[in-house]
Subunit: 266 residues, 2 copies
Protein backbone atom coordinates (compact mmCIF):
# COMPACT_ATOMS: atom_id res chain seq x y z
CA UNK A 1 0.00 0.00 0.00
CA UNK A 2 3.05 2.20 -0.51
CA UNK A 3 1.12 4.45 -2.84
CA UNK A 4 -1.00 5.90 -0.04
CA UNK A 5 0.13 8.96 1.94
CA UNK A 6 0.02 7.29 5.35
CA UNK A 7 2.13 4.35 4.21
CA UNK A 8 4.67 6.50 2.41
CA UNK A 9 4.97 8.86 5.40
CA UNK A 10 5.36 6.11 8.02
CA UNK A 11 8.02 4.32 5.96
CA UNK A 12 10.85 2.91 8.10
CA UNK A 13 14.34 2.17 6.84
CA UNK A 14 16.69 -0.36 8.31
CA UNK A 15 16.40 -3.90 9.53
CA UNK A 16 15.83 -3.09 13.21
CA UNK A 17 15.94 -3.04 16.14
CA UNK A 18 16.49 0.65 15.30
CA UNK A 19 14.81 2.21 12.30
CA UNK A 20 15.23 5.52 10.53
CA UNK A 21 12.06 7.52 9.89
CA UNK A 22 10.91 11.03 9.16
CA UNK A 23 8.37 13.26 10.88
CA UNK A 24 6.65 15.06 8.01
CA UNK A 25 5.53 18.69 7.95
CA UNK A 26 2.03 17.91 6.84
CA UNK A 27 0.80 15.62 9.64
CA UNK A 28 0.83 18.51 12.07
CA UNK A 29 -1.35 19.00 15.10
CA UNK A 30 -1.09 22.38 16.77
CA UNK A 31 1.76 22.61 17.51
CA UNK A 32 4.16 19.89 16.39
CA UNK A 33 3.50 16.59 14.68
CA UNK A 34 0.18 14.93 15.57
CA UNK A 35 0.50 12.49 18.46
CA UNK A 36 -1.54 9.78 16.79
CA UNK A 37 0.73 9.92 13.75
CA UNK A 38 3.80 9.37 15.96
CA UNK A 39 1.98 6.58 17.83
CA UNK A 40 1.17 4.87 14.53
CA UNK A 41 4.78 5.25 13.37
CA UNK A 42 6.07 3.51 16.50
CA UNK A 43 3.36 0.83 16.24
CA UNK A 44 4.50 0.12 12.69
CA UNK A 45 8.07 -0.30 13.92
CA UNK A 46 6.88 -2.85 16.50
CA UNK A 47 4.96 -4.69 13.78
CA UNK A 48 8.35 -5.20 12.13
CA UNK A 49 9.92 -6.45 15.38
CA UNK A 50 7.21 -8.73 16.79
CA UNK A 51 6.06 -12.15 15.54
CA UNK A 52 2.31 -11.37 15.43
CA UNK A 53 0.57 -9.19 12.85
CA UNK A 54 -2.06 -7.34 14.88
CA UNK A 55 -1.63 -4.63 17.50
CA UNK A 56 -4.04 -5.40 20.35
CA UNK A 57 -3.15 -2.70 22.91
CA UNK A 58 -0.92 0.32 22.35
CA UNK A 59 -0.08 2.77 25.12
CA UNK A 60 2.03 5.84 24.37
CA UNK A 61 3.48 8.50 26.68
CA UNK A 62 4.16 11.86 25.04
CA UNK A 63 7.41 13.19 26.44
CA UNK A 64 8.00 16.21 24.23
CA UNK A 65 6.41 17.83 21.15
CA UNK A 66 7.65 16.21 17.94
CA UNK A 67 9.00 18.60 15.33
CA UNK A 68 9.21 17.72 11.62
CA UNK A 69 12.49 16.24 10.40
CA UNK A 70 14.58 13.07 10.51
CA UNK A 71 13.81 10.72 13.39
CA UNK A 72 14.75 7.32 14.76
CA UNK A 73 12.56 4.59 16.21
CA UNK A 74 14.23 2.09 18.55
CA UNK A 75 12.42 -1.14 19.38
CA UNK A 76 12.70 -3.83 22.04
CA UNK A 77 10.99 -7.21 22.14
CA UNK A 78 9.91 -7.57 25.77
CA UNK A 79 8.38 -11.00 25.46
CA UNK A 80 7.16 -13.15 22.61
CA UNK A 81 4.71 -15.70 24.03
CA UNK A 82 2.49 -18.26 22.34
CA UNK A 83 -0.54 -16.02 21.80
CA UNK A 84 0.74 -12.55 22.64
CA UNK A 85 3.97 -10.65 22.08
CA UNK A 86 4.95 -7.50 23.94
CA UNK A 87 7.27 -4.78 22.74
CA UNK A 88 8.43 -1.30 23.41
CA UNK A 89 9.42 1.45 21.01
CA UNK A 90 10.84 4.93 21.44
CA UNK A 91 10.77 7.77 18.96
CA UNK A 92 13.83 10.04 18.92
CA UNK A 93 14.28 13.45 17.29
CA UNK A 94 17.54 15.42 17.49
CA UNK A 95 18.81 12.94 20.08
CA UNK A 96 15.85 13.50 22.38
CA UNK A 97 13.11 11.03 23.20
CA UNK A 98 9.71 12.28 22.06
CA UNK A 99 7.41 9.30 22.57
CA UNK A 100 7.64 6.00 24.43
CA UNK A 101 5.16 3.27 23.60
CA UNK A 102 4.47 -0.22 24.87
CA UNK A 103 2.27 -2.59 22.91
CA UNK A 104 0.83 -6.07 22.89
CA UNK A 105 0.44 -7.80 19.53
CA UNK A 106 -1.49 -10.93 18.67
CA UNK A 107 -3.25 -12.62 15.78
CA UNK A 108 -6.86 -11.45 16.11
CA UNK A 109 -8.15 -14.09 13.68
CA UNK A 110 -6.63 -16.86 15.80
CA UNK A 111 -7.81 -15.20 19.02
CA UNK A 112 -11.40 -15.30 17.82
CA UNK A 113 -11.10 -19.08 17.32
CA UNK A 114 -9.61 -19.94 20.73
CA UNK A 115 -11.69 -22.16 23.02
CA UNK A 116 -14.10 -19.92 24.88
CA UNK A 117 -13.93 -17.07 22.38
CA UNK A 118 -16.75 -17.79 19.94
CA UNK A 119 -19.34 -18.35 22.66
CA UNK A 120 -18.83 -14.96 24.25
CA UNK A 121 -20.13 -11.79 22.64
CA UNK A 122 -21.78 -8.84 24.32
CA UNK A 123 -22.28 -5.22 23.44
CA UNK A 124 -23.72 -2.53 25.66
CA UNK A 125 -22.92 0.12 23.05
CA UNK A 126 -24.10 0.78 19.54
CA UNK A 127 -22.68 2.03 16.30
CA UNK A 128 -23.18 5.83 16.06
CA UNK A 129 -26.49 6.71 14.45
CA UNK A 130 -25.52 9.13 11.68
CA UNK A 131 -27.16 10.44 8.51
CA UNK A 132 -25.41 9.22 5.32
CA UNK A 133 -22.01 10.90 4.79
CA UNK A 134 -23.27 12.75 1.70
CA UNK A 135 -25.93 14.48 3.81
CA UNK A 136 -23.39 15.61 6.44
CA UNK A 137 -21.25 18.71 6.86
CA UNK A 138 -17.68 18.19 5.66
CA UNK A 139 -14.62 20.08 6.85
CA UNK A 140 -12.66 21.55 3.98
CA UNK A 141 -8.88 21.06 4.14
CA UNK A 142 -7.36 24.14 5.75
CA UNK A 143 -10.42 24.81 7.93
CA UNK A 144 -8.30 24.83 11.08
CA UNK A 145 -5.11 26.83 10.70
CA UNK A 146 -1.93 24.89 11.47
CA UNK A 147 -3.62 21.50 11.75
CA UNK A 148 -2.30 20.03 8.54
CA UNK A 149 -3.24 16.49 9.56
CA UNK A 150 -6.85 17.31 8.69
CA UNK A 151 -5.94 17.48 5.00
CA UNK A 152 -5.43 13.71 4.94
CA UNK A 153 -8.95 12.85 6.09
CA UNK A 154 -12.49 13.28 4.96
CA UNK A 155 -14.63 14.09 8.03
CA UNK A 156 -18.44 14.22 7.88
CA UNK A 157 -20.46 15.46 10.81
CA UNK A 158 -24.26 15.90 10.93
CA UNK A 159 -23.91 19.66 11.51
CA UNK A 160 -20.98 22.08 11.73
CA UNK A 161 -19.61 21.83 15.29
CA UNK A 162 -20.19 24.71 17.68
CA UNK A 163 -16.52 25.49 18.20
CA UNK A 164 -16.06 25.96 14.44
CA UNK A 165 -18.78 28.59 14.21
CA UNK A 166 -17.60 30.39 17.36
CA UNK A 167 -20.42 29.01 19.52
CA UNK A 168 -19.04 26.12 21.64
CA UNK A 169 -21.99 24.03 22.83
CA UNK A 170 -20.65 23.27 26.32
CA UNK A 171 -21.28 19.58 25.58
CA UNK A 172 -17.96 17.85 24.78
CA UNK A 173 -19.07 14.98 22.57
CA UNK A 174 -19.89 14.31 18.96
CA UNK A 175 -20.27 11.58 16.39
CA UNK A 176 -18.97 11.71 12.85
CA UNK A 177 -17.80 9.78 9.81
CA UNK A 178 -14.15 9.61 8.87
CA UNK A 179 -11.94 8.04 6.19
CA UNK A 180 -8.61 8.63 4.50
CA UNK A 181 -9.08 11.19 1.74
CA UNK A 182 -6.79 9.27 -0.64
CA UNK A 183 -8.84 6.09 -0.42
CA UNK A 184 -6.51 4.10 1.82
CA UNK A 185 -8.54 1.48 3.70
CA UNK A 186 -8.33 1.78 7.47
CA UNK A 187 -6.46 -1.10 9.07
CA UNK A 188 -5.19 -1.93 12.55
CA UNK A 189 -1.91 -0.09 11.94
CA UNK A 190 -3.75 3.10 10.97
CA UNK A 191 -6.20 3.09 13.90
CA UNK A 192 -3.69 4.46 16.48
CA UNK A 193 -3.51 7.51 14.19
CA UNK A 194 -7.23 7.69 13.46
CA UNK A 195 -8.29 7.80 17.14
CA UNK A 196 -6.21 10.97 17.57
CA UNK A 197 -6.85 12.61 14.21
CA UNK A 198 -10.23 14.26 14.78
CA UNK A 199 -10.82 17.59 16.53
CA UNK A 200 -10.98 17.03 20.30
CA UNK A 201 -14.39 17.12 21.97
CA UNK A 202 -13.19 19.65 24.58
CA UNK A 203 -13.17 22.32 21.87
CA UNK A 204 -16.89 22.51 22.76
CA UNK A 205 -15.77 23.67 26.22
CA UNK A 206 -13.31 26.19 24.81
CA UNK A 207 -10.39 24.10 26.07
CA UNK A 208 -7.04 23.58 24.38
CA UNK A 209 -4.91 20.73 25.73
CA UNK A 210 -1.96 18.48 25.00
CA UNK A 211 -1.86 14.69 25.32
CA UNK A 212 0.10 13.12 28.17
CA UNK A 213 -0.83 9.50 27.45
CA UNK A 214 -3.00 7.68 24.92
CA UNK A 215 -4.09 4.04 25.12
CA UNK A 216 -5.68 2.32 22.13
CA UNK A 217 -7.45 -1.03 22.25
CA UNK A 218 -7.77 -2.69 18.86
CA UNK A 219 -10.83 -4.90 18.91
CA UNK A 220 -11.23 -6.18 15.34
CA UNK A 221 -9.78 -5.82 11.84
CA UNK A 222 -11.84 -3.09 10.15
CA UNK A 223 -13.96 -3.73 7.06
CA UNK A 224 -13.35 -1.29 4.19
CA UNK A 225 -15.40 1.89 3.96
CA UNK A 226 -16.40 4.83 6.15
CA UNK A 227 -15.61 4.66 9.86
CA UNK A 228 -18.33 5.82 12.24
CA UNK A 229 -16.66 7.53 15.22
CA UNK A 230 -17.76 8.80 18.59
CA UNK A 231 -15.65 11.04 20.79
CA UNK A 232 -16.45 12.42 24.22
CA UNK A 233 -14.95 13.81 27.41
CA UNK A 234 -16.66 13.00 30.70
CA UNK A 235 -14.46 14.67 33.30
CA UNK A 236 -12.50 17.91 33.28
CA UNK A 237 -10.83 19.05 36.49
CA UNK A 238 -7.57 19.65 38.32
CA UNK A 239 -5.90 20.80 35.12
CA UNK A 240 -6.56 17.63 33.10
CA UNK A 241 -9.26 15.90 31.11
CA UNK A 242 -9.67 12.47 29.59
CA UNK A 243 -11.04 11.83 26.10
CA UNK A 244 -12.61 8.63 24.83
CA UNK A 245 -12.99 7.60 21.21
CA UNK A 246 -14.80 4.65 19.68
CA UNK A 247 -14.34 3.67 16.03
CA UNK A 248 -16.86 1.42 14.29
CA UNK A 249 -16.38 -0.02 10.80
CA UNK A 250 -18.83 -0.15 7.91
CA UNK A 251 -20.02 -3.60 9.01
CA UNK A 252 -21.11 -2.18 12.38
CA UNK A 253 -18.22 -3.73 14.35
CA UNK A 254 -16.37 -1.85 17.08
CA UNK A 255 -12.78 -1.82 15.83
CA UNK A 256 -11.02 0.52 18.27
CA UNK A 257 -11.50 2.14 21.67
CA UNK A 258 -9.12 4.75 22.94
CA UNK A 259 -8.69 6.96 25.94
CA UNK A 260 -6.20 9.72 26.48
CA UNK A 261 -5.33 11.98 29.38
CA UNK A 262 -4.53 15.54 28.36
CA UNK A 263 -3.09 18.53 30.18
CA UNK A 264 -5.15 21.71 29.84
CA UNK A 265 -3.16 24.60 28.39
CA UNK A 266 -3.43 27.99 30.08
Amino acid sequence: MGEFEFDADTCLSGEGPEFAASLPEDWGGAPGVNGGFMLALCTRALARALPFPDPLVVSGFFLRPGSPGPAQVSTEVIRAGKTTAFGEAALWRDGKQVLRITAAFTDLAQAAERPGSPGHAFSAGRVPSLPPPEECFGFEPGTVRGVSIASHFDYRIPAAPGWLTGQPTGDPRYEFWMRFRDGRPADLLALPLIVDAAPPAVLELGIASTTVELTVYLRARPAPGWLACRTWTSYVGGGYHEEDVEVWDSAGTLVAQSRQLALILG
Copy 2:
Protein backbone atom coordinates in the same frame (compact mmCIF):
# COMPACT_ATOMS: atom_id res chain seq x y z
CA MET B 1 1.99 4.19 57.30
CA GLY B 2 4.12 1.08 57.64
CA GLU B 3 1.68 -0.44 60.07
CA PHE B 4 -0.92 -1.12 57.40
CA GLU B 5 -0.89 -4.36 55.39
CA PHE B 6 -0.63 -2.70 51.98
CA ASP B 7 2.37 -0.60 53.01
CA ALA B 8 4.15 -3.46 54.70
CA ASP B 9 3.58 -5.77 51.73
CA THR B 10 4.71 -3.28 49.06
CA CYS B 11 7.87 -2.44 50.99
CA LEU B 12 10.92 -1.98 48.74
CA SER B 13 14.52 -2.39 49.84
CA GLY B 14 17.49 -0.70 48.26
CA GLU B 15 18.29 2.75 47.00
CA GLY B 16 17.33 2.17 43.37
CA PRO B 17 17.31 2.13 40.45
CA GLU B 18 16.71 -1.54 41.32
CA PHE B 19 14.73 -2.53 44.37
CA ALA B 20 14.14 -5.82 46.14
CA ALA B 21 10.55 -6.72 46.92
CA SER B 22 8.38 -9.68 47.72
CA LEU B 23 5.20 -10.99 46.12
CA PRO B 24 3.11 -12.17 49.08
CA GLU B 25 0.90 -15.26 49.21
CA ASP B 26 -2.12 -13.40 50.45
CA TRP B 27 -2.68 -10.83 47.70
CA GLY B 28 -3.67 -13.56 45.29
CA GLY B 29 -6.03 -13.33 42.36
CA ALA B 30 -6.91 -16.58 40.70
CA PRO B 31 -4.31 -17.73 39.85
CA GLY B 32 -1.13 -15.89 40.86
CA VAL B 33 -0.63 -12.58 42.58
CA ASN B 34 -3.28 -9.95 41.82
CA GLY B 35 -2.36 -7.72 38.88
CA GLY B 36 -3.34 -4.52 40.63
CA PHE B 37 -1.11 -5.39 43.56
CA MET B 38 1.87 -5.82 41.24
CA LEU B 39 0.96 -2.60 39.41
CA ALA B 40 0.87 -0.72 42.73
CA LEU B 41 4.22 -2.24 43.74
CA CYS B 42 5.87 -0.97 40.56
CA THR B 43 4.15 2.43 40.91
CA ARG B 44 5.59 2.71 44.40
CA ALA B 45 9.07 1.99 43.02
CA LEU B 46 8.64 4.79 40.48
CA ALA B 47 7.51 7.14 43.25
CA ARG B 48 10.96 6.53 44.76
CA ALA B 49 12.71 7.24 41.46
CA LEU B 50 10.80 10.28 40.14
CA PRO B 51 10.83 13.89 41.44
CA PHE B 52 7.02 14.33 41.70
CA PRO B 53 4.79 12.77 44.34
CA ASP B 54 1.63 11.87 42.44
CA PRO B 55 1.08 9.18 39.82
CA LEU B 56 -1.07 10.68 37.06
CA VAL B 57 -1.18 7.87 34.50
CA VAL B 58 0.01 4.30 34.99
CA SER B 59 -0.10 1.72 32.20
CA GLY B 60 0.97 -1.86 32.86
CA PHE B 61 1.40 -4.81 30.53
CA PHE B 62 1.05 -8.23 32.15
CA LEU B 63 3.65 -10.51 30.62
CA ARG B 64 3.36 -13.59 32.83
CA PRO B 65 1.48 -14.63 35.97
CA GLY B 66 3.29 -13.50 39.12
CA SER B 67 3.91 -16.22 41.69
CA PRO B 68 4.54 -15.49 45.39
CA GLY B 69 8.17 -15.13 46.45
CA PRO B 70 11.14 -12.79 46.24
CA ALA B 71 11.06 -10.29 43.37
CA GLN B 72 12.96 -7.35 41.93
CA VAL B 73 11.69 -4.06 40.56
CA SER B 74 13.95 -2.20 38.15
CA THR B 75 13.23 1.45 37.37
CA GLU B 76 14.24 3.92 34.69
CA VAL B 77 13.67 7.67 34.64
CA ILE B 78 12.62 8.39 31.05
CA ARG B 79 12.26 12.14 31.39
CA ALA B 80 11.89 14.54 34.29
CA GLY B 81 10.31 17.73 32.96
CA LYS B 82 9.09 20.85 34.72
CA THR B 83 5.54 19.67 35.39
CA THR B 84 5.64 15.98 34.53
CA ALA B 85 8.11 13.15 34.97
CA PHE B 86 7.97 9.86 33.09
CA GLY B 87 9.36 6.56 34.23
CA GLU B 88 9.33 2.88 33.51
CA ALA B 89 9.50 -0.05 35.89
CA ALA B 90 9.73 -3.79 35.42
CA LEU B 91 8.86 -6.48 37.92
CA TRP B 92 11.06 -9.60 37.83
CA ARG B 93 10.49 -12.99 39.45
CA ASP B 94 12.92 -15.90 39.13
CA GLY B 95 14.82 -13.90 36.49
CA LYS B 96 11.74 -13.51 34.32
CA GLN B 97 9.88 -10.30 33.61
CA VAL B 98 6.30 -10.41 34.90
CA LEU B 99 5.05 -6.86 34.46
CA ARG B 100 6.22 -3.79 32.58
CA ILE B 101 4.78 -0.41 33.48
CA THR B 102 5.17 3.12 32.23
CA ALA B 103 3.92 6.05 34.26
CA ALA B 104 3.65 9.82 34.32
CA PHE B 105 3.97 11.56 37.68
CA THR B 106 3.16 15.14 38.60
CA ASP B 107 2.14 17.28 41.57
CA LEU B 108 -1.66 17.31 41.38
CA ALA B 109 -1.95 20.20 43.85
CA GLN B 110 0.29 22.36 41.65
CA ALA B 111 -1.49 21.18 38.50
CA ALA B 112 -4.82 22.41 39.84
CA GLU B 113 -3.32 25.89 40.29
CA ARG B 114 -1.77 26.25 36.83
CA PRO B 115 -3.14 29.05 34.61
CA GLY B 116 -6.21 27.69 32.85
CA SER B 117 -6.82 24.90 35.37
CA PRO B 118 -9.18 26.49 37.91
CA GLY B 119 -11.56 27.86 35.28
CA HIS B 120 -12.22 24.48 33.72
CA ALA B 121 -14.39 21.88 35.39
CA PHE B 122 -16.96 19.60 33.82
CA SER B 123 -18.54 16.32 34.74
CA ALA B 124 -20.86 14.23 32.61
CA GLY B 125 -20.82 11.46 35.20
CA ARG B 126 -22.01 11.18 38.77
CA VAL B 127 -20.91 9.51 41.93
CA PRO B 128 -22.58 6.07 42.22
CA SER B 129 -25.93 6.27 43.97
CA LEU B 130 -25.66 3.67 46.73
CA PRO B 131 -27.49 2.93 49.97
CA PRO B 132 -25.32 3.51 53.06
CA PRO B 133 -22.61 0.83 53.47
CA GLU B 134 -24.26 -0.54 56.61
CA GLU B 135 -27.42 -1.32 54.63
CA CYS B 136 -25.47 -3.19 51.92
CA PHE B 137 -24.45 -6.79 51.43
CA GLY B 138 -20.85 -7.46 52.47
CA PHE B 139 -18.60 -10.21 51.17
CA GLU B 140 -17.10 -12.24 53.96
CA PRO B 141 -13.37 -12.97 53.66
CA GLY B 142 -12.93 -16.34 51.98
CA THR B 143 -16.13 -16.00 49.95
CA VAL B 144 -14.29 -16.67 46.72
CA ARG B 145 -11.88 -19.57 46.96
CA GLY B 146 -8.29 -18.74 46.04
CA VAL B 147 -8.83 -14.99 45.82
CA SER B 148 -6.95 -14.04 48.97
CA ILE B 149 -6.78 -10.38 47.97
CA ALA B 150 -10.43 -10.03 48.99
CA SER B 151 -9.46 -10.50 52.64
CA HIS B 152 -7.78 -7.08 52.65
CA PHE B 153 -10.90 -5.16 51.64
CA ASP B 154 -14.34 -4.44 52.92
CA TYR B 155 -16.76 -4.52 49.96
CA ARG B 156 -20.40 -3.44 50.27
CA ILE B 157 -22.84 -3.95 47.44
CA PRO B 158 -26.57 -3.16 47.47
CA ALA B 159 -27.46 -6.83 46.89
CA ALA B 160 -25.45 -10.04 46.58
CA PRO B 161 -24.23 -10.22 42.97
CA GLY B 162 -25.80 -12.75 40.63
CA TRP B 163 -22.58 -14.66 39.97
CA LEU B 164 -22.15 -15.28 43.70
CA THR B 165 -25.54 -16.90 44.04
CA GLY B 166 -25.13 -18.96 40.87
CA GLN B 167 -27.44 -16.75 38.81
CA PRO B 168 -25.31 -14.45 36.61
CA THR B 169 -27.49 -11.53 35.53
CA GLY B 170 -26.14 -11.20 31.99
CA ASP B 171 -25.52 -7.52 32.72
CA PRO B 172 -21.80 -6.92 33.38
CA ARG B 173 -21.84 -3.86 35.61
CA TYR B 174 -22.24 -3.00 39.24
CA GLU B 175 -21.67 -0.31 41.82
CA PHE B 176 -20.31 -0.85 45.31
CA TRP B 177 -18.48 0.60 48.29
CA MET B 178 -14.92 -0.39 49.06
CA ARG B 179 -12.22 0.37 51.63
CA PHE B 180 -9.18 -1.26 53.19
CA ARG B 181 -10.30 -3.57 55.97
CA ASP B 182 -7.44 -2.48 58.26
CA GLY B 183 -8.40 1.20 58.08
CA ARG B 184 -5.65 2.35 55.76
CA PRO B 185 -6.81 5.50 53.94
CA ALA B 186 -6.87 5.16 50.16
CA ASP B 187 -4.26 7.32 48.46
CA LEU B 188 -2.93 7.72 44.95
CA LEU B 189 -0.38 4.94 45.42
CA ALA B 190 -3.10 2.49 46.47
CA LEU B 191 -5.53 3.29 43.66
CA PRO B 192 -3.69 1.20 41.00
CA LEU B 193 -4.39 -1.74 43.30
CA ILE B 194 -7.94 -0.75 44.16
CA VAL B 195 -9.13 -0.51 40.54
CA ASP B 196 -8.19 -4.16 40.04
CA ALA B 197 -9.17 -5.53 43.44
CA ALA B 198 -12.92 -6.03 43.03
CA PRO B 199 -14.60 -8.98 41.33
CA PRO B 200 -14.74 -8.38 37.56
CA ALA B 201 -18.05 -7.37 36.03
CA VAL B 202 -17.84 -10.14 33.40
CA LEU B 203 -18.55 -12.69 36.13
CA GLU B 204 -22.15 -11.67 35.38
CA LEU B 205 -21.62 -13.12 31.89
CA GLY B 206 -20.03 -16.29 33.21
CA ILE B 207 -16.66 -15.24 31.82
CA ALA B 208 -13.24 -15.82 33.36
CA SER B 209 -10.38 -13.79 31.91
CA THR B 210 -6.83 -12.60 32.48
CA THR B 211 -5.57 -9.02 32.14
CA VAL B 212 -3.33 -8.13 29.20
CA GLU B 213 -3.03 -4.41 29.93
CA LEU B 214 -4.40 -2.01 32.54
CA THR B 215 -4.30 1.79 32.37
CA VAL B 216 -5.14 3.90 35.42
CA TYR B 217 -5.77 7.64 35.35
CA LEU B 218 -5.41 9.29 38.75
CA ARG B 219 -7.62 12.37 38.80
CA ALA B 220 -7.44 13.69 42.38
CA ARG B 221 -6.03 12.87 45.82
CA PRO B 222 -8.78 10.92 47.61
CA ALA B 223 -10.46 12.18 50.77
CA PRO B 224 -10.52 9.64 53.64
CA GLY B 225 -13.46 7.29 53.98
CA TRP B 226 -15.41 4.83 51.85
CA LEU B 227 -14.77 4.76 48.10
CA ALA B 228 -17.81 4.53 45.82
CA CYS B 229 -16.89 2.40 42.82
CA ARG B 230 -18.49 1.56 39.50
CA THR B 231 -17.29 -1.23 37.21
CA TRP B 232 -18.62 -2.24 33.84
CA THR B 233 -17.76 -4.03 30.61
CA SER B 234 -19.26 -2.69 27.39
CA TYR B 235 -17.81 -4.95 24.70
CA VAL B 236 -16.99 -8.66 24.66
CA GLY B 237 -15.89 -10.23 21.40
CA GLY B 238 -13.08 -11.83 19.43
CA GLY B 239 -11.73 -13.46 22.57
CA TYR B 240 -11.27 -10.26 24.59
CA HIS B 241 -13.19 -7.77 26.69
CA GLU B 242 -12.44 -4.41 28.20
CA GLU B 243 -13.39 -3.39 31.74
CA ASP B 244 -13.82 0.14 33.04
CA VAL B 245 -13.69 1.20 36.67
CA GLU B 246 -14.42 4.57 38.27
CA VAL B 247 -13.52 5.33 41.87
CA TRP B 248 -15.13 8.26 43.70
CA ASP B 249 -14.09 9.46 47.15
CA SER B 250 -16.24 10.33 50.14
CA ALA B 251 -16.31 13.99 49.07
CA GLY B 252 -17.93 13.00 45.76
CA THR B 253 -14.79 13.57 43.67
CA LEU B 254 -13.74 11.22 40.88
CA VAL B 255 -10.28 10.05 41.97
CA ALA B 256 -9.48 7.27 39.46
CA GLN B 257 -10.57 5.92 36.12
CA SER B 258 -9.19 2.69 34.77
CA ARG B 259 -9.61 0.48 31.76
CA GLN B 260 -8.16 -2.92 31.14
CA LEU B 261 -8.15 -5.32 28.22
CA ALA B 262 -8.48 -8.96 29.23
CA LEU B 263 -8.14 -12.22 27.38
CA ILE B 264 -11.07 -14.61 27.84
CA LEU B 265 -10.05 -17.99 29.21
CA GLY B 266 -11.43 -21.12 27.55
